[in-house]
């Protein structure tokens, strides 16, 4: 039995294998529609979610399985003070695989070490979100044809943006990646991302404040939301939330084949006027999330 709580638990070969499977699912969906017959996935969402939960549930349903679960902590025994470990041991009596989202960092690790069935981290606070990373990688593969020799701009909340940490960790294992990390000083990438991934890997990166200056060299622009729910102090959130807003005029110097990504939801950091630009990939990215989760569910269930 194996779980996935951190993208680093997958080898490059395994990630490539998942992407290949996802591409095959896209090409031959019928081939996969009975793979999870009579299997159940429990989606335990202690935090609100639209895309991730529905993506997991639709992935399981499209594989012929079923989905059970809850979509807020208030709707579970967590409201009565039940621990994550006890909830997981209970849910494992009903489900073949579990996807968990929790506001506390490390909750998915606690779930995985207490579960007799595979656990997938669907986001643990500002920490990790490996299936978003797999979604991002599938999107880059489909949009850019591969992962090598890309200049990747990541913009916004790089401190609490869990998708950012996982993406940097995963992409860094491919060659020729350069990062331009665009954020206000208060929201720059945590030290551990630099200390454990970028610096020891000799991966070129620069930390800048100005999005427009960085724009011309980017192959990928990964926008993120400043996450209100991660701030203890609302004044800090209000001060930082509008630091970067991508509008059509800021794309004037961008490459014609730039790939604009966003894990969504967005608030106002990408103007809706960008949605009709062919370089806007974020809704295609959402769709890729379902396919890669189908591939992951099959891998963890061994079907």
């Amino acid at each position: 039995m194996r779980s996935l709580t951190d993208i680093k638990e997958l080898t490059v070969g395994e990630i490539d294998g998942l992407i290949e499977t996802a591409l095959d699912i896209i090409a031959n969906p019928k081939k996969y529609e009975q793979r999870c017959d009579h299997k159940k996935m429990a989606t335990l969402f202690y935090e609100p979610s639209t895309r991730t939960r529905l993506s997991f549930e639709s992935a399981m349903i499209e594989l012929g399985g079923n989905a059970i679960g809850f979509s807020s902590a208030d709707a579970s025994s967590a409201a009565k003070g039940e621990s994550v470990a006890d909830t997981i041991k209970t849910v494992a009596c009903f489900a073949d695989i579990i996807a968990i989202r929790h506001p506390k960092e490390g909750a998915a690790h606690v779930a995985a070490i207490n579960s007799p069935v595979p656990v997938i981290n669907a986001g643990d606070g500002g920490h990790n979100h490996p299936t978003q990373t797999l979604t991002d990688l599938l999107t880059i593969k489909r949009e850019k044809g591969g992962f090598e020799n890309l200049t990747v701009g990541i913009c916004g909340d790089l401190k609490f943006g869990r998708t950012v940490h996982s993406l940097i960790s995963a992409l860094s294992r491919y060659g020729g990646i350069k990062y331009v990390l665009i954020s206000p000083e208060e929201l720059c990438v945590p030290e551990y991302v630099k200390d454990e991934t970028l610096i020891p890997g000799g991966i070129p990166f620069e930390e800048v404040r100005d999005l427009e200056k960085a724009m011309p060299e980017l192959d990928i622009l990964y926008m993120t939301r400043v996450q209100k729910e991660r701030f203890f102090n609302e004044a800090d959130y209000l001060r930082l939330k509008d630091t970067y807003i991508l509008t059509p005029d800021k794309l004037k110097e961008a490459k014609p084949d730039l790939c604009i990504m966003h894990p969504l939801p967005r608030v106002n950091e990408i103007s809706v006027a960008i949605d009709s630009d062919s370089r806007a990939c974020y809704f295609r990215q959402v769709q890729n999330g379902k396919f890669i989760r189908m591939a992951l569910i099959m891998k963890l269930l061994g079907v």
Binding site: V84, K104, G106, V110, G125, H127, Y192
Partner: protein, 138 residues
Amino acid sequence: MVIGQITDGIVLDHITAGRGMEIYRTLGLGSLGCTVAMINNAESTKMGRKDIIKIGKIIDLDFTVLGYIDPGITVNVIRDGKLVKRDHLTLPERLINVLKCKNPRCITSSEQELDQVFRLADTQTRTYRCVYCDSKAK
């Protein structure tokens, strides 16, 4: 200064000079009820100066804690006046319930029955990180 040899006991040698008292307190050596000798700033050809602790009784030592505080320590076990075992400590790979995660967003902040587990992330800088949230130990 002459401090007599011990017949049965433990000698903690090569303690970084000045760390002896911290180890004495952490291991609770003051409450053992046997002879304990603390030697500060002893001359050492290898280290220049070092601290040494001699404990007049064979006790179970928490090598994990000891290795974390001062990984260069040598632990000598003496039985019937003879050296029967010598361990050179290293930084432990994992620390369980030695440090506490200070990250208020960590799951250990709300589920306090969980063990506090830290992993050695960087030997050179002696950096430990929480296995749950990856925060650096402070």
